[in-house]
Symmetry: C2
Subunit: 218 residues, 2 copies
């Protein structure tokens, strides 16, 4: 029997929407996957030729880019932030919609100054720098792993770049969205080398692609 | 009234042990801090001249190093990983003990090969590279944010560098500790500029230092 295919999924937000889609594509985790008290990181599947790992979103991309997982699901924000050459994102799954936006304090936004240098707090240093560069602005990015919304009030940065869904967290922290950098949705991602050498990966892509076409045609 | 002093604490492991110590040093968060349903990131204190922010461990160091928080508590693993020049860690609080260790699959460890080049998965790229460099080994670090224990089994890395407390997670994943890089404990950290210019920061350091001396003398 060949080595099981490893499918990587992110903890959190996207997963609830992804599971029904995965099931229709034949990727069904064993019952333990749904046991919230389980400390396991890797799970068997109904198909004995597959296993699922559940890791942080950024790590989904890292496992797949290095071929340690052959396929997975992750937001396009992560795909774009890393821009790994060995990672291919062939199918837009049309789930997990949100946006990567710039936000700043309400009072500051209405002043609308045009600085040539800014300090920005973000989990996405590459996307942030790239966006401001295109506007001729040099952005110094302070990398944070969470709680970006605190940064402007404490003087850590004048702006933040973060995922926005309802906008409630921004509002709670006196911030307002001033621009969208990226419209985000979840993607099926695969390792390029695995796609070329392993027919099971190509078959998986076709199954997810067929599902995505059904949805968009509906 | 001067701007409130901002004290940064990490989510998770260290916090339960830190709170009684903080209370004895006069840093007491408002009741909402203990409300698990609260979405707040910043909290008032019993002392109206202070506030507390609760962020991820790595971000505690970032907020303090940039002076957005004037003081905080974080593990020495984080202090050493960043090596920020503006961050000063004057007091070992003697809590949050664990160690930063190298681990590898049980079978591989018994073979004991001496490679000149290794791939290592870790949340601590700087400490990892530095450790292996001292041994004349070039370590390529794959940065992961969690679930390091999966990496060797999936061929992402031959070794991991991670925090170890009981060792149970390693054992569950067929890994064994082969070396300790750093004995870790929680530290009081302060921003160097704030320590020089704000008497309240110096007073805070003295209070925590007195507490630490009491403990070590007991």
């Amino acid at each position: 029997m060949p080595k099981p295919l490893t499918f990587a999924v992110p903890k959190g937000r996207i997963l609830d929407e992804a599971l029904p889609l995965m099931a229709r594509a034949g990727v069904v985790p064993e019952a333990e996957f749904h046991d919230k008290s389980s400390r396991a990181l890797s799970f068997g599947c109904v198909d004995p030729g597959m296993r699922i790992i559940r890791v942080r979103a950024f790590d989904v991309a890292t496992f797949v880019a290095h071929g340690a997982a052959q396929a997975g699901i992750v937001g396009s924000d992560v795909v774009e932030e890393f821009a790994y050459s060995d990672l291919y994102a062939p199918v837009d799954l049309d789930i997990g919609h949100c946006r990567l936006s710039i936000a700043e304090p309400v009072a500051q936004a209405s002043e609308a100054p045009r600085a040539s240098h800014l300090r920005v707090a973000s989990k996405y240093p590459n996307l942030t720098r790239r966006h401001f560069e295109r506007q001729g602005i040099q952005a110094e990015v302070v990398k944070l792993n969470g709680a970006m919304e605190l940064a402007p009030g404490l003087g850590l940065a004048s702006r933040i770049v973060d995922l926005v869904s309802t906008g409630r967290t921004l509002k709670d922290n006196g911030l307002v969205e001033t621009a969208t950098i990226l419209e985000v949705s979840a993607r099926l991602i695969v390792n390029r080398a695995a796609l070329k050498t392993d027919e099971r990966v190509a078959a998986l892509v076709e199954r997810f692609r067929a599902l995505a076409n059904q949805t968009s045609a509906a």
